[in-house]
Protein backbone atom coordinates (compact mmCIF):
# COMPACT_ATOMS: atom_id res chain seq x y z
CA UNK A 1 0.00 0.00 0.00
CA UNK A 2 2.79 2.40 0.91
CA UNK A 3 4.57 1.71 -2.38
CA UNK A 4 1.34 2.35 -4.22
CA UNK A 5 0.82 5.56 -2.26
CA UNK A 6 4.34 6.80 -3.03
CA UNK A 7 4.04 5.97 -6.74
CA UNK A 8 0.69 7.68 -7.12
CA UNK A 9 2.10 10.72 -5.32
CA UNK A 10 4.99 10.77 -7.80
CA UNK A 11 2.65 10.72 -10.80
CA UNK A 12 0.36 13.35 -9.29
CA UNK A 13 3.41 15.46 -8.47
CA UNK A 14 4.79 15.29 -12.00
CA UNK A 15 1.43 16.07 -13.50
CA UNK A 16 0.49 18.89 -11.11
CA UNK A 17 3.37 21.00 -12.29
CA UNK A 18 3.55 19.73 -15.83
CA UNK A 19 5.19 22.76 -17.50
CA UNK A 20 7.99 22.70 -14.97
CA UNK A 21 8.29 18.94 -15.34
CA UNK A 22 8.68 19.30 -19.10
CA UNK A 23 11.28 22.06 -18.71
CA UNK A 24 13.14 19.88 -16.24
CA UNK A 25 13.06 16.86 -18.55
CA UNK A 26 14.19 18.85 -21.61
CA UNK A 27 17.17 20.47 -19.89
CA UNK A 28 18.03 17.13 -18.39
CA UNK A 29 17.80 15.50 -21.84
CA UNK A 30 19.99 18.12 -23.53
CA UNK A 31 22.57 17.96 -20.80
CA UNK A 32 22.67 14.17 -20.85
CA UNK A 33 22.85 14.11 -24.66
CA UNK A 34 25.89 16.35 -24.46
CA UNK A 35 27.35 14.09 -21.83
CA UNK A 36 26.64 11.01 -23.94
CA UNK A 37 28.04 12.67 -27.04
CA UNK A 38 31.26 13.66 -25.35
CA UNK A 39 31.52 10.16 -23.89
CA UNK A 40 31.09 8.71 -27.37
CA UNK A 41 33.66 11.13 -28.74
CA UNK A 42 36.07 10.15 -26.04
CA UNK A 43 35.78 6.52 -27.13
CA UNK A 44 35.97 7.49 -30.79
CA UNK A 45 39.04 9.63 -30.37
CA UNK A 46 40.75 6.86 -28.43
CA UNK A 47 39.84 4.30 -31.10
CA UNK A 48 41.07 6.60 -33.83
CA UNK A 49 44.27 7.37 -31.96
CA UNK A 50 44.98 3.66 -31.67
CA UNK A 51 44.22 3.11 -35.29
CA UNK A 52 46.16 6.04 -36.68
CA UNK A 53 49.15 5.96 -34.42
CA UNK A 54 49.56 2.25 -35.03
CA UNK A 55 49.88 2.94 -38.77
CA UNK A 56 51.90 6.04 -38.39
CA UNK A 57 55.09 6.36 -40.39
CA UNK A 58 58.24 8.36 -40.10
CA UNK A 59 59.79 9.12 -43.44
CA UNK A 60 63.49 9.73 -43.79
CA UNK A 61 64.11 11.33 -47.17
CA UNK A 62 67.54 10.96 -48.63
CA UNK A 63 69.29 13.81 -50.32
CA UNK A 64 69.98 13.52 -54.05
CA UNK A 65 73.69 13.35 -53.43
CA UNK A 66 73.45 10.39 -51.11
CA UNK A 67 75.56 7.53 -52.38
CA UNK A 68 75.09 3.79 -52.28
CA UNK A 69 77.34 3.34 -49.26
CA UNK A 70 75.53 5.94 -47.15
CA UNK A 71 72.21 4.38 -48.03
CA UNK A 72 73.33 0.90 -47.07
CA UNK A 73 74.83 2.15 -43.78
CA UNK A 74 71.66 3.94 -42.86
CA UNK A 75 69.55 0.93 -43.76
CA UNK A 76 71.65 -1.32 -41.53
CA UNK A 77 71.56 1.18 -38.69
CA UNK A 78 67.80 1.53 -38.89
CA UNK A 79 67.33 -2.22 -39.00
CA UNK A 80 69.28 -2.69 -35.79
CA UNK A 81 67.69 0.29 -34.01
CA UNK A 82 65.54 -0.96 -31.08
CA UNK A 83 63.11 1.96 -31.53
CA UNK A 84 62.27 0.88 -35.07
CA UNK A 85 59.80 -1.88 -35.70
CA UNK A 86 59.87 -2.00 -39.48
CA UNK A 87 61.87 -0.39 -42.23
CA UNK A 88 60.84 -0.17 -45.86
CA UNK A 89 63.04 1.37 -48.51
CA UNK A 90 61.23 3.31 -51.20
CA UNK A 91 63.32 3.86 -54.30
CA UNK A 92 62.67 6.44 -57.01
CA UNK A 93 60.41 4.17 -59.08
CA UNK A 94 58.26 3.20 -56.14
CA UNK A 95 58.08 6.79 -54.98
CA UNK A 96 56.87 7.76 -58.43
CA UNK A 97 54.28 4.96 -58.39
CA UNK A 98 52.96 6.16 -55.05
CA UNK A 99 52.92 9.69 -56.34
CA UNK A 100 50.94 8.62 -59.39
CA UNK A 101 48.37 6.86 -57.23
CA UNK A 102 48.03 9.80 -54.89
CA UNK A 103 47.59 12.39 -57.64
CA UNK A 104 45.80 10.37 -60.31
CA UNK A 105 43.12 13.04 -60.49
CA UNK A 106 45.67 15.73 -61.34
CA UNK A 107 47.27 14.79 -64.66
CA UNK A 108 48.94 18.21 -64.98
CA UNK A 109 50.87 17.63 -61.82
CA UNK A 110 51.73 14.11 -62.91
CA UNK A 111 53.16 15.19 -66.20
CA UNK A 112 55.20 17.93 -64.53
CA UNK A 113 57.00 15.54 -62.23
CA UNK A 114 59.56 13.09 -63.53
CA UNK A 115 60.28 9.78 -61.85
CA UNK A 116 63.82 10.93 -61.33
CA UNK A 117 62.96 14.06 -59.41
CA UNK A 118 61.38 12.26 -56.44
CA UNK A 119 63.71 11.49 -53.53
CA UNK A 120 64.41 8.04 -52.20
CA UNK A 121 63.26 7.42 -48.66
CA UNK A 122 63.05 5.01 -45.77
CA UNK A 123 59.58 4.53 -44.28
CA UNK A 124 59.79 3.56 -40.65
CA UNK A 125 57.25 2.13 -38.28
CA UNK A 126 58.24 2.80 -34.69
CA UNK A 127 57.76 0.52 -31.74
CA UNK A 128 56.34 3.50 -29.91
CA UNK A 129 55.25 6.32 -32.25
CA UNK A 130 55.74 8.90 -29.51
CA UNK A 131 59.49 8.36 -29.65
CA UNK A 132 59.67 10.22 -32.91
CA UNK A 133 61.83 12.97 -31.36
CA UNK A 134 64.60 10.53 -30.54
CA UNK A 135 64.65 9.14 -34.05
CA UNK A 136 64.73 12.67 -35.39
CA UNK A 137 67.66 13.70 -33.20
CA UNK A 138 69.56 10.54 -33.93
CA UNK A 139 69.36 10.63 -37.71
CA UNK A 140 68.97 14.25 -38.71
CA UNK A 141 72.73 14.78 -39.04
CA UNK A 142 73.51 11.46 -40.64
CA UNK A 143 75.28 11.73 -43.96
CA UNK A 144 72.90 11.66 -46.92
CA UNK A 145 69.73 12.46 -44.96
CA UNK A 146 67.80 15.35 -46.37
CA UNK A 147 64.68 15.61 -44.23
CA UNK A 148 62.78 13.63 -41.63
CA UNK A 149 59.00 13.94 -41.70
CA UNK A 150 56.76 12.66 -38.96
CA UNK A 151 53.05 12.12 -39.63
CA UNK A 152 52.29 12.26 -35.96
CA UNK A 153 52.78 16.03 -35.96
CA UNK A 154 49.86 16.34 -38.33
CA UNK A 155 47.83 13.81 -36.34
CA UNK A 156 48.56 15.70 -33.13
CA UNK A 157 46.99 18.76 -34.66
CA UNK A 158 43.90 16.82 -35.73
CA UNK A 159 43.49 15.19 -32.36
CA UNK A 160 44.00 18.49 -30.61
CA UNK A 161 40.99 19.79 -32.53
CA UNK A 162 38.93 16.69 -31.77
CA UNK A 163 39.82 16.85 -28.09
CA UNK A 164 38.83 20.48 -27.87
CA UNK A 165 35.50 19.73 -29.57
CA UNK A 166 35.01 17.00 -27.00
CA UNK A 167 35.85 19.43 -24.19
CA UNK A 168 33.37 21.93 -25.56
CA UNK A 169 30.66 19.25 -25.55
CA UNK A 170 31.58 18.37 -21.98
CA UNK A 171 31.50 22.03 -20.93
CA UNK A 172 28.10 22.45 -22.59
CA UNK A 173 26.92 19.33 -20.74
CA UNK A 174 28.13 20.84 -17.46
CA UNK A 175 26.43 24.19 -18.08
CA UNK A 176 23.18 22.47 -19.03
CA UNK A 177 23.57 20.25 -15.98
CA UNK A 178 23.68 23.33 -13.76
CA UNK A 179 20.50 24.61 -15.41
CA UNK A 180 18.89 21.20 -14.96
CA UNK A 181 20.00 21.14 -11.34
CA UNK A 182 18.45 24.54 -10.61
CA UNK A 183 15.24 23.46 -12.33
CA UNK A 184 15.09 20.31 -10.24
CA UNK A 185 15.65 22.33 -7.07
CA UNK A 186 12.94 24.78 -8.08
CA UNK A 187 10.47 22.07 -9.07
CA UNK A 188 10.99 20.33 -5.76
CA UNK A 189 10.47 23.58 -3.89
CA UNK A 190 7.22 24.22 -5.72
CA UNK A 191 6.11 20.64 -5.11
CA UNK A 192 6.99 20.88 -1.43
CA UNK A 193 5.09 24.16 -1.16
CA UNK A 194 1.99 22.81 -2.82
CA UNK A 195 2.06 19.84 -0.47
CA UNK A 196 3.01 21.80 2.65
CA UNK A 197 -0.22 20.94 4.47
CA UNK A 198 0.19 17.22 3.86
CA UNK A 199 3.82 17.42 4.90
CA UNK A 200 2.94 19.32 8.09
CA UNK A 201 0.34 16.68 9.02
CA UNK A 202 2.72 13.85 8.16
CA UNK A 203 5.41 15.34 10.38
CA UNK A 204 2.87 15.87 13.15
CA UNK A 205 1.58 12.31 13.21
CA UNK A 206 5.08 10.87 12.92
CA UNK A 207 5.42 9.68 9.32
CA UNK A 208 9.01 8.60 8.78
CA UNK A 209 11.35 10.96 6.99
CA UNK A 210 11.91 8.69 4.03
CA UNK A 211 8.16 8.37 3.58
CA UNK A 212 7.78 12.15 3.47
CA UNK A 213 10.74 12.64 1.14
CA UNK A 214 10.40 9.65 -1.17
CA UNK A 215 7.67 11.06 -3.46
CA UNK A 216 9.65 14.27 -4.03
CA UNK A 217 12.96 12.51 -4.63
CA UNK A 218 11.37 9.93 -6.92
CA UNK A 219 9.63 12.69 -8.84
CA UNK A 220 13.03 14.16 -9.67
CA UNK A 221 14.54 10.75 -10.41
CA UNK A 222 11.73 9.86 -12.82
CA UNK A 223 12.26 13.16 -14.62
CA UNK A 224 15.99 12.45 -14.78
CA UNK A 225 15.42 8.98 -16.21
CA UNK A 226 12.97 10.25 -18.82
CA UNK A 227 15.57 12.88 -19.69
CA UNK A 228 18.23 10.22 -20.16
CA UNK A 229 15.87 8.18 -22.36
CA UNK A 230 15.33 11.25 -24.55
CA UNK A 231 19.09 11.70 -24.60
CA UNK A 232 19.47 8.14 -25.87
CA UNK A 233 16.91 8.85 -28.58
CA UNK A 234 18.89 11.97 -29.54
CA UNK A 235 22.12 9.97 -29.81
CA UNK A 236 20.41 7.32 -31.94
CA UNK A 237 19.06 10.07 -34.18
CA UNK A 238 22.54 11.59 -34.37
CA UNK A 239 23.98 8.27 -35.52
CA UNK A 240 21.26 7.90 -38.16
CA UNK A 241 21.42 11.42 -39.49
CA UNK A 242 25.06 12.36 -38.95
CA UNK A 243 27.30 9.33 -39.01
CA UNK A 244 25.23 7.16 -41.33
CA UNK A 245 23.95 10.19 -43.23
CA UNK A 246 25.85 13.41 -43.76
CA UNK A 247 29.24 12.18 -42.60
CA UNK A 248 29.09 8.75 -44.25
CA UNK A 249 31.63 9.94 -46.85
CA UNK A 250 34.16 10.22 -44.07
CA UNK A 251 33.61 6.60 -43.08
CA UNK A 252 37.18 5.75 -43.96
CA UNK A 253 38.55 8.51 -41.78
CA UNK A 254 36.35 8.17 -38.73
CA UNK A 255 36.21 4.94 -36.85
CA UNK A 256 32.59 3.75 -36.96
CA UNK A 257 30.11 4.46 -34.13
CA UNK A 258 28.33 1.20 -33.39
CA UNK A 259 24.92 0.71 -31.76
CA UNK A 260 26.83 -0.99 -28.99
CA UNK A 261 28.82 2.20 -28.32
CA UNK A 262 25.59 4.16 -27.96
CA UNK A 263 23.92 1.55 -25.76
CA UNK A 264 26.94 1.56 -23.47
CA UNK A 265 26.45 5.31 -22.96
CA UNK A 266 22.85 4.86 -21.81
CA UNK A 267 23.49 3.41 -18.34
CA UNK A 268 26.02 6.19 -17.76
CA UNK A 269 23.52 8.85 -18.81
CA UNK A 270 20.68 7.28 -16.84
CA UNK A 271 22.91 6.86 -13.81
CA UNK A 272 24.15 10.44 -13.88
CA UNK A 273 20.64 11.80 -14.61
CA UNK A 274 18.99 9.79 -11.86
CA UNK A 275 21.69 10.34 -9.27
CA UNK A 276 22.07 14.08 -9.86
CA UNK A 277 18.29 14.54 -9.66
CA UNK A 278 18.00 12.47 -6.52
CA UNK A 279 20.81 14.23 -4.70
CA UNK A 280 19.56 17.67 -5.74
CA UNK A 281 16.03 16.87 -4.64
CA UNK A 282 17.22 15.44 -1.37
CA UNK A 283 19.44 18.42 -0.57
CA UNK A 284 16.64 20.82 -1.52
CA UNK A 285 14.28 19.01 0.84
CA UNK A 286 16.85 19.22 3.64
CA UNK A 287 16.72 22.98 3.39
CA UNK A 288 13.09 23.35 2.51
CA UNK A 289 11.18 20.78 4.53
CA UNK A 290 13.56 20.53 7.45
CA UNK A 291 12.63 16.93 8.04
Amino acid sequence: MRVKYVLSEVLVGLWRNVTMTIAMIITMAVSLTMLGASGLMYRQVNDMKDLYYKNIEVSIFLSKEANEQQRADLHAKLKSDPLVKEVVFVNKDEAYKRFQEMFQDAPDLLSAVKADSLPESFRLKLVNPEQYREIYNQYKDTEGVDEIVDQSQLLDKIFKILTSVQNIALAAAAVMAIAALLLVANTIQVAAYSKRREVAVMKLVGASNWFIQAPFVLEAVVAGLIGSLLGLVALVAAKYLLFDGALSDLQGLLSPVTWGDILVMFPIMAGVGGLVSAVTAWVTLRFYLRV
Binding site: R2, R197, E198, V201, V205, G206, S208, N209
Partner: protein, 226 residues
Amino acid sequence: MIQLEQVTKTYPKASRPSLDNVSVSIEKGEFVFFIGPSGSGKSTIIKLLLHEVTPNKGRVVVNSKDVTSMRSWKRPHFRRSIGCVFQDFRLLPNRTAYENVAFALEVIGKTKAVARRVVPEVLELVGLGGKEHRYPHELSGGEQQRVAVARAFVNRPLILLADEPTGNLDPDTSIEIMRLLDRINRTGTTVVMVTHDSNIVNQMRRRVIEIESGRIVRDQARGVYG
Protein backbone atom coordinates in the same frame (compact mmCIF):
# COMPACT_ATOMS: atom_id res chain seq x y z
CA MET B 1 4.56 10.67 32.23
CA ILE B 2 5.95 14.13 31.53
CA GLN B 3 8.81 15.80 33.35
CA LEU B 4 10.35 19.18 32.77
CA GLU B 5 13.43 19.58 34.94
CA GLN B 6 14.76 23.12 35.27
CA VAL B 7 14.11 23.77 31.63
CA THR B 8 15.29 27.02 30.08
CA LYS B 9 14.53 27.81 26.46
CA THR B 10 15.76 30.96 24.78
CA TYR B 11 15.01 31.40 21.10
CA PRO B 12 17.81 32.79 18.98
CA LYS B 13 17.72 36.61 18.87
CA ALA B 14 15.25 36.76 21.77
CA SER B 15 16.15 39.17 24.53
CA ARG B 16 14.79 37.01 27.35
CA PRO B 17 14.06 33.30 27.71
CA SER B 18 10.62 31.94 26.76
CA LEU B 19 10.90 29.47 29.60
CA ASP B 20 13.12 30.25 32.55
CA ASN B 21 14.13 27.39 34.81
CA VAL B 22 10.74 25.66 34.66
CA SER B 23 10.14 22.37 36.47
CA VAL B 24 6.85 20.48 36.08
CA SER B 25 5.86 16.89 36.61
CA ILE B 26 2.67 15.48 35.11
CA GLU B 27 1.41 12.03 36.02
CA LYS B 28 -0.23 9.51 33.72
CA GLY B 29 -3.91 10.21 33.22
CA GLU B 30 -3.78 13.82 34.38
CA PHE B 31 -5.61 16.69 32.72
CA VAL B 32 -3.50 19.83 32.90
CA PHE B 33 -4.12 23.39 31.76
CA PHE B 34 -1.25 25.73 31.01
CA ILE B 35 -2.56 29.28 31.19
CA GLY B 36 -1.00 32.68 30.89
CA PRO B 37 -0.92 35.75 28.66
CA SER B 38 0.30 35.65 25.08
CA GLY B 39 4.05 35.30 24.85
CA SER B 40 4.33 33.85 28.33
CA GLY B 41 5.91 30.66 27.02
CA LYS B 42 2.91 28.30 27.07
CA SER B 43 3.25 27.21 23.48
CA THR B 44 6.96 26.62 23.92
CA ILE B 45 6.03 23.84 26.33
CA ILE B 46 4.00 22.10 23.63
CA LYS B 47 6.90 22.51 21.20
CA LEU B 48 9.31 21.02 23.73
CA LEU B 49 7.04 18.05 24.33
CA LEU B 50 6.75 17.46 20.56
CA HIS B 51 10.52 17.72 20.19
CA GLU B 52 10.00 20.56 17.78
CA VAL B 53 12.50 22.62 19.77
CA THR B 54 15.13 21.51 22.27
CA PRO B 55 15.85 23.26 25.59
CA ASN B 56 19.01 25.26 26.18
CA LYS B 57 19.21 23.96 29.72
CA GLY B 58 17.45 21.27 31.70
CA ARG B 59 15.83 17.98 30.80
CA VAL B 60 12.56 17.06 29.09
CA VAL B 61 11.23 13.56 29.62
CA VAL B 62 8.11 12.35 27.79
CA ASN B 63 6.73 8.81 28.08
CA SER B 64 9.86 7.99 30.08
CA LYS B 65 11.95 8.93 27.04
CA ASP B 66 14.54 11.65 27.45
CA VAL B 67 13.62 14.01 24.65
CA THR B 68 16.39 16.49 25.45
CA SER B 69 19.07 14.62 23.59
CA MET B 70 16.88 12.65 21.18
CA ARG B 71 18.28 12.51 17.66
CA SER B 72 16.04 14.04 15.04
CA TRP B 73 15.71 10.78 13.09
CA LYS B 74 14.02 9.23 16.11
CA ARG B 75 11.45 12.02 16.22
CA PRO B 76 8.88 10.47 13.83
CA HIS B 77 8.54 7.32 15.85
CA PHE B 78 8.40 9.26 19.09
CA ARG B 79 5.55 11.40 17.77
CA ARG B 80 3.37 8.38 17.11
CA SER B 81 2.78 8.15 20.85
CA ILE B 82 1.55 11.74 21.03
CA GLY B 83 -1.65 13.19 19.61
CA CYS B 84 -1.83 16.87 18.85
CA VAL B 85 -4.63 19.37 18.28
CA PHE B 86 -4.24 23.02 17.27
CA GLN B 87 -6.26 26.17 17.18
CA ASP B 88 -6.32 26.14 13.37
CA PHE B 89 -7.36 22.43 13.07
CA ARG B 90 -4.73 21.70 10.36
CA LEU B 91 -7.00 19.49 8.28
CA LEU B 92 -6.32 18.69 4.62
CA PRO B 93 -8.94 20.68 2.68
CA ASN B 94 -9.11 18.26 -0.27
CA ARG B 95 -9.85 15.22 1.88
CA THR B 96 -13.02 14.17 3.66
CA ALA B 97 -13.28 13.73 7.41
CA TYR B 98 -12.71 10.01 6.95
CA GLU B 99 -9.75 10.53 4.63
CA ASN B 100 -8.17 13.08 6.96
CA VAL B 101 -8.15 10.59 9.81
CA ALA B 102 -7.18 7.66 7.58
CA PHE B 103 -4.31 9.70 6.11
CA ALA B 104 -2.73 9.96 9.56
CA LEU B 105 -2.85 6.18 9.84
CA GLU B 106 -1.68 5.41 6.35
CA VAL B 107 1.39 7.65 6.43
CA ILE B 108 2.69 5.80 9.47
CA GLY B 109 2.35 2.51 7.65
CA LYS B 110 -1.06 1.21 8.72
CA THR B 111 -2.99 -0.65 6.03
CA LYS B 112 -6.24 0.49 4.46
CA ALA B 113 -7.95 -2.45 6.17
CA VAL B 114 -6.89 -1.14 9.57
CA ALA B 115 -8.13 2.32 8.63
CA ARG B 116 -11.51 0.92 7.55
CA ARG B 117 -11.90 -0.71 10.91
CA VAL B 118 -10.58 2.06 13.18
CA VAL B 119 -11.57 5.34 11.51
CA PRO B 120 -15.38 5.01 11.64
CA GLU B 121 -15.06 3.98 15.25
CA VAL B 122 -13.09 7.06 16.26
CA LEU B 123 -15.29 9.37 14.19
CA GLU B 124 -18.27 7.91 16.03
CA LEU B 125 -16.47 8.56 19.32
CA VAL B 126 -15.98 12.25 18.55
CA GLY B 127 -19.62 12.55 17.51
CA LEU B 128 -19.20 12.77 13.76
CA GLY B 129 -21.05 9.56 12.90
CA GLY B 130 -22.76 10.08 9.54
CA LYS B 131 -20.49 12.93 8.48
CA GLU B 132 -17.50 10.83 7.46
CA HIS B 133 -17.64 11.89 3.83
CA ARG B 134 -17.96 15.62 4.32
CA TYR B 135 -15.07 17.87 3.35
CA PRO B 136 -13.71 20.31 5.94
CA HIS B 137 -15.42 23.27 4.23
CA GLU B 138 -18.73 21.45 4.60
CA LEU B 139 -18.25 21.16 8.37
CA SER B 140 -18.62 23.77 11.12
CA GLY B 141 -15.60 24.90 13.12
CA GLY B 142 -16.54 22.66 16.00
CA GLU B 143 -16.95 19.70 13.69
CA GLN B 144 -13.61 20.38 12.06
CA GLN B 145 -11.96 20.41 15.44
CA ARG B 146 -13.64 17.09 16.17
CA VAL B 147 -12.05 15.66 13.06
CA ALA B 148 -8.71 16.97 14.29
CA VAL B 149 -9.28 15.37 17.68
CA ALA B 150 -10.24 12.11 15.96
CA ARG B 151 -7.02 12.27 13.95
CA ALA B 152 -4.99 12.94 17.08
CA PHE B 153 -6.65 10.13 18.98
CA VAL B 154 -6.95 7.44 16.31
CA ASN B 155 -3.57 6.00 17.27
CA ARG B 156 -4.61 5.77 20.92
CA PRO B 157 -1.70 7.97 22.02
CA LEU B 158 -0.58 8.08 25.63
CA ILE B 159 -0.55 11.86 25.57
CA LEU B 160 -2.83 14.36 23.86
CA LEU B 161 -1.45 17.87 23.46
CA ALA B 162 -3.89 20.66 22.68
CA ASP B 163 -2.63 24.12 21.75
CA GLU B 164 -5.57 26.51 22.26
CA PRO B 165 -8.01 24.04 20.71
CA THR B 166 -10.98 26.31 21.40
CA GLY B 167 -9.31 29.51 20.24
CA ASN B 168 -11.36 29.64 17.03
CA LEU B 169 -14.64 28.39 18.45
CA ASP B 170 -17.65 30.02 20.10
CA PRO B 171 -18.27 29.33 23.81
CA ASP B 172 -20.91 26.63 23.34
CA THR B 173 -18.85 24.74 20.79
CA SER B 174 -15.80 25.14 23.00
CA ILE B 175 -17.62 23.41 25.85
CA GLU B 176 -18.49 20.52 23.54
CA ILE B 177 -14.87 20.12 22.50
CA MET B 178 -13.86 20.20 26.16
CA ARG B 179 -16.35 17.44 26.95
CA LEU B 180 -14.76 15.42 24.19
CA LEU B 181 -11.27 16.00 25.57
CA ASP B 182 -12.53 15.09 29.00
CA ARG B 183 -13.92 11.84 27.64
CA ILE B 184 -10.61 11.06 26.02
CA ASN B 185 -8.88 11.85 29.31
CA ARG B 186 -11.12 9.32 31.04
CA THR B 187 -9.80 6.56 28.77
CA GLY B 188 -6.47 7.07 30.55
CA THR B 189 -4.90 9.48 28.08
CA THR B 190 -2.89 12.28 29.61
CA VAL B 191 -4.18 15.61 28.29
CA VAL B 192 -2.07 18.76 28.26
CA MET B 193 -3.92 21.84 27.09
CA VAL B 194 -2.64 25.34 26.54
CA THR B 195 -5.35 27.97 26.67
CA HIS B 196 -6.34 31.43 27.75
CA ASP B 197 -10.05 30.66 27.77
CA SER B 198 -10.91 31.49 31.40
CA ASN B 199 -14.46 30.25 31.05
CA ILE B 200 -13.36 26.74 30.22
CA VAL B 201 -10.68 26.56 32.86
CA ASN B 202 -13.13 27.67 35.51
CA GLN B 203 -15.71 25.09 34.45
CA MET B 204 -13.38 22.13 34.24
CA ARG B 205 -11.75 22.51 37.64
CA ARG B 206 -8.62 20.63 36.70
CA ARG B 207 -4.97 21.19 37.46
CA VAL B 208 -3.94 24.67 36.38
CA ILE B 209 -0.35 25.78 35.83
CA GLU B 210 -0.01 29.50 35.25
CA ILE B 211 3.02 30.86 33.44
CA GLU B 212 4.12 34.44 33.30
CA SER B 213 7.22 35.67 31.50
CA GLY B 214 8.56 32.14 31.27
CA ARG B 215 8.17 31.27 34.95
CA ILE B 216 5.58 29.20 36.76
CA VAL B 217 3.66 31.49 39.09
CA ARG B 218 0.92 29.05 40.14
CA ASP B 219 0.34 25.30 40.15
CA GLN B 220 -3.03 24.39 41.55
CA ALA B 221 -4.66 20.96 41.71
CA ARG B 222 -8.27 22.03 41.05
CA GLY B 223 -7.66 25.53 39.89
CA VAL B 224 -9.51 28.37 38.24
CA TYR B 225 -8.31 31.00 35.77
CA GLY B 226 -6.90 33.46 38.32
